[in-house]
């Protein structure tokens, strides 16, 4: 089907979501070419108000807020997408395999996951980041690991209902290998809830990164990301300035846009 006709058939919420996501994607990809200043360039005094030169004013070090907002898209979205993706690969594959294989493999894996889940998510992430250090790679892996436990649980519980069906049994008795069972018999039947979870999980990961940055363990300065931009400029709110809310709104709007599209996608399959 033509992309344009699909777009026309979408609900208006999904269309809005697509447009917003495209906008974010544009910001992330072409960030350096459209910003008036660079990420780290100091262009004025601390906390300058909105002006013709600095559209959204300057931050606590005198860097341009508008430019940093656009650079933040690249850093924050990129890492969130990567972490969510990794979390789904780890958690999803293990969950589906555990449901298919069953037995001690499933038992051991599930207890390990239970152990990981018993530590509150943010505390767990903080702990691991303090142990391994706050490099970008560590950040991605730690968030993916912590989130994959939730996805493992979901994937396993959804798959449990499918692995007992006659068609799975027929495939087993045929002598099919694990890869075929999981990828071709099981996965198509559990895709819908996993995709819905992807939308939701992406937003949670996003918030986790922002919270970690806000706490100082996420992306390290001088890299711009929306969470730390809120933290660095939070004091402005007490002066009645709304600027620190703009990066926060950027997070919120993206979360809503992603879920609009996921909702539409799931409604399609019914």
């Amino acid at each position: 089907m033509n992309i344009l006709t699909v777009f026309k058939q979408m609900s208006w919420t999904a269309r809005l979501g697509i447009i917003l996501i495209a906008l974010y994607a544009f910001m992330a990809v072409f960030g350096p070419y459209i910003t008036p200043y660079s990420e780290t360039q100091i262009v004025g005094g601390e906390y300058d108000p909105w002006s013709a030169q600095t559209w959204l004013g300057t931050d606590n070090l005198g860097r341009d807020m508008f430019s940093r907002l656009i650079f933040g898209a690249r850093n924050t979205i990129g890492i969130a997408l990567l972490s969510t993706f990794l979390a789904f690969v780890i958690g999803g594959v293990l969950g589906l395999v555990a449901a298919t294989v069953g037995g001690w493999f499933e038992a051991v894996l599930s207890r390990i996951v239970d152990m990981l889940m018993s530590v509150p998510q943010l505390i767990g992430a903080l702990l691991l980041l303090t142990i391994f250090g706050t490099s970008l790679l560590n950040l991605v892996f730690v968030i993916a690991l912590v989130d994959s436990t939730r996805i493992y649980r979901l994937a396993k519980s959804v798959a449990m209902n499918v692995v007992v069906t006659d068609y799975m049994e027929a495939a087993r008795v045929r002598g099919e290998g694990l890869v075929w069972l999981v990828m071709f018999e099981l996965l198509p039947n559990v895709k819908a809830p996993l995709i819905a979870e992807f939308g939701l999980r992406f937003c949670f990961v996003f918030l986790t990164i922002s919270s970690l940055s806000f706490l100082g363990l996420g992306l390290q300065p001088p890299m711009a990301d929306w969470g730390s931009m809120v933290r660095e400029n939070a004091s402005l709110i007490s002066f009645g300035d709304l600027t620190p809310l703009i990066p926060a709104a950027a997070i919120g709007v993206l979360a809503i846009a992603v879920n609009f599209v996921v909702d539409w996608f799931l409604a399609q399959r019914r």
């Binding site: 006659d166 068609y167 027929a170 008795v173 045929r174 002598g175 071709f184 198509p188 039947n189």
Partner: protein, 541 residues
């Protein structure tokens, strides 16, 4: 003539589909006199249940009554206010559902559910209602009538549950009861108990009833008048004796087509023939308990062995043992002179290929996300080296062999097929592996009579074309008598009788086999009465 209790004239029901409202019942007239029983017969989708529910002034979600008049005792059901309607339901009109197990609330005791509507409608006090319930249980000779009501639904058998539900429908002394396929999910021997209970209670309380079933033989025992439905219209209606003896419409005759299907059994096995699959004295079960014990059988090329028994007799367990899904505890399964590993995981690809299964529920046996071509193509590709156009050509051949047009069905998904078509795909998938033995587990029990007949004919044709052997698991003796060459009768995990079809069913036969044969509903309106009379004679003697 007395004023009819229920009069439906020109009843029309519409259902909501993707393309808007479409009519599913096209102007049906039904008249029911007080104290009489009316049978509604037809295939699934004929609109029986919708009409039954409409008699209560009710429709399922997504349906609506679009025309006609429903008069119950002079009350127009279509113009009642919701409160008046509620007063009528349960109190004057009761409903007995097909699956009692799904209709009872598992969290409440049976007797509380029994008395609920009588108390809610203010017919009687709790104490009285419970006393009456116990009396009813005694009357229909349930075991331990005093205490059975204190049990929860999962603590009694399916047949007992259905009988309690029938008794429950009487709790408010209604004028009309609607029975919607009350025995369809039950064994033949259990079915008789339920049928007798229903008839006893209906006669005792002089209530009128609508009895809905797809089985004309059952309806013939229960009803005074029979209405045959097809696609939402009345095909034929009239007195049951007249209808059964001289059906005018050919459709009415075709309703018992399966009963008339008889494939001649193969000649007896010659002495030096070698069985293709032998089962030697196997024991198997779940946990420590053996479900089947000491089962031995031989399956020969080109023959159908029917495994018959009630539910719980271990017939499906036997099938699962042979396919390797349930490891056996002792004994041996021998295919082509080689002993098969107990678990399918340890069998070679050649051995797996040789034994294929066809499942009862075609809905769950086909992966809903694969198209028909892939479902059949996969075993072909898996067990042979076929590829590309040759694979496609072979898939087309197999679709053709099971009577599905390849061009039309190749790229469809299971959800776009009817029940009978799905079962044909299930057969095609088994066939695609080019097996020697196919285990058919109740493959026709979820299908309508006419469709089932088609499937049985196909199975029998394929047997001679491909030289297959079948292990045909079923609870339905009519099916056995139409296609089996040999018969194995199971009871509680043990063999009762084993031999050629004609020998097993020829007198003098085993007592249990006689009981099974007698339990099979006959196309004779007096069958149930005769059975009761014989039974009481036997018990007197």
């Amino acid at each position: 003539m007395a004023e009819p209790l229920l009069k439906m004239t020109g009843l029309r029901i519409e259902a909501l589909s993707a393309n808007g409202w479409s009519e599913i019942v096209h102007g049906v007239d039904i008249v029911l006199q007080p104290g009489k029983i009316l049978g509604l017969v037809g295939e699934s989708g004929a609109g029986k249940s919708s009409i039954g529910l409409a008699a209560m002034g009710y429709t399922r979600d997504g349906c609506r009554i679009s025309g006609g008049e429903i008069l119950f005792d002079g009350i127009d059901m279509r113009t009642l206010s919701p409160a008046q309607h509620q007063d009528l339901l349960g109190a004057r009109i009761a409903y007995v559902a097909q699956s009692a197990a799904a209709s009872f609330n598992p969290a409440h005791k049976l007797i509380d559910q029994h008395c609920e509507s009588a108390i809610a409608h203010g017919v009687t006090s709790r104490h009285n209602a419970q006393r009456e319930a116990v009396e009813l249980y005694r009357k229909i000779s349930l075991p331990e009538p005093e205490t059975i009501g204190l049990r929860y639904p999962h603590e009694v058998s399916g047949g007992q549950l259905q009988r309690i539900m029938t008794a429950m429908a009487m709790s408010c002394r209604p004028d009309l009861i609607i029975f919607d396929e009350p025995t369809t999910a039950l064994d033949v021997t259990t079915q008789i108990d339920v049928l007798l209970t229903i008839r006893e209670l209906v006669r005792e309380f002089q209530v009128a009833a609508i009895y809905i079933s797809h089985d004309l033989a059952v309806v013939a025992q229960m009803a005074d008048q029979v209405v045959v439905l097809k696609d939402g219209s009345v095909v034929e209606s009239g007195d049951k004796r007249q209808l059964i003896e001289n059906p005018i419409e050919s459709y009415t005759q075709s309703l018992w087509a399966v009963r008339n299907l008889a494939c001649a059994p193969q000649p007896p096995v010659s002495r030096n023939a070698k069985p293709i699959l032998s089962v030697k004295n196997i024991e198997a079960g779940y946990g420590k308990k053996n479900v089947i014990e000491g089962i031995s059988l031989d399956l020969y090329r080109g023959r159908t062995l029917a495994v018959v028994g009630e539910s719980g007799s271990g017939k499906s367990t036997l099938g699962r043992c042979i396919s390797g899904l349930l490891p056996i505890n002792s004994g041996a399964i021998i295919y082509n002179d080689v002993e098969l590993a107990s678990s399918y995981k340890k069998r070679s690809r050649e051995q797996l290929k040789a034994v294929q299964m066809i499942y009862q529920m075609a809905d769950t046996a086909l992966n809903p996300r694969h198209c028909i071509g892939d479902i059949i193509g996969r075993p072909l590709k898996f067990y042979s080296d076929l590829n590309g156009p040759r694979l496609q050509a072979r898939t087309h051949e197999i679709l053709d062999a099971v009577g599905l047009e390849p061009g039309k069905f190749f790229s469809r998904r299971p959800e776009e097929l009817s029940g009978g078509q799905k079962q044909r795909v299930g057969i095609a998938r088994a066939l695609a592996a080019d097996p020697a033995v196919i285990i058919c587990d109740e493959i026709t029990s979820a299908l309508d009579q006419l469709v089932a007949e088609g499937i049985l004919r196909l199975i029998d044709d394929l047997k001679s074309t491909f030289g297959l052997s079948y292990l045909f698991i079923t609870h339905d003796l009519t099916v056995v008598q139409s296609i089996a060459d040999d018969v194995l009768v199971l009871k509680a995990g043990n063999i009762v009788e084993y031999g050629e079809r004609n020998n097993v069913f020829a007198p003098p036969c085993d007592q249990y086999v006689t009981q099974l044969v007698n339990s099979m509903p006959q196309m004779n309106p007096d069958w149930l009465d005769d059975l009761v009379r014989c039974g009481s004679k036997q018990s007197q003697a």
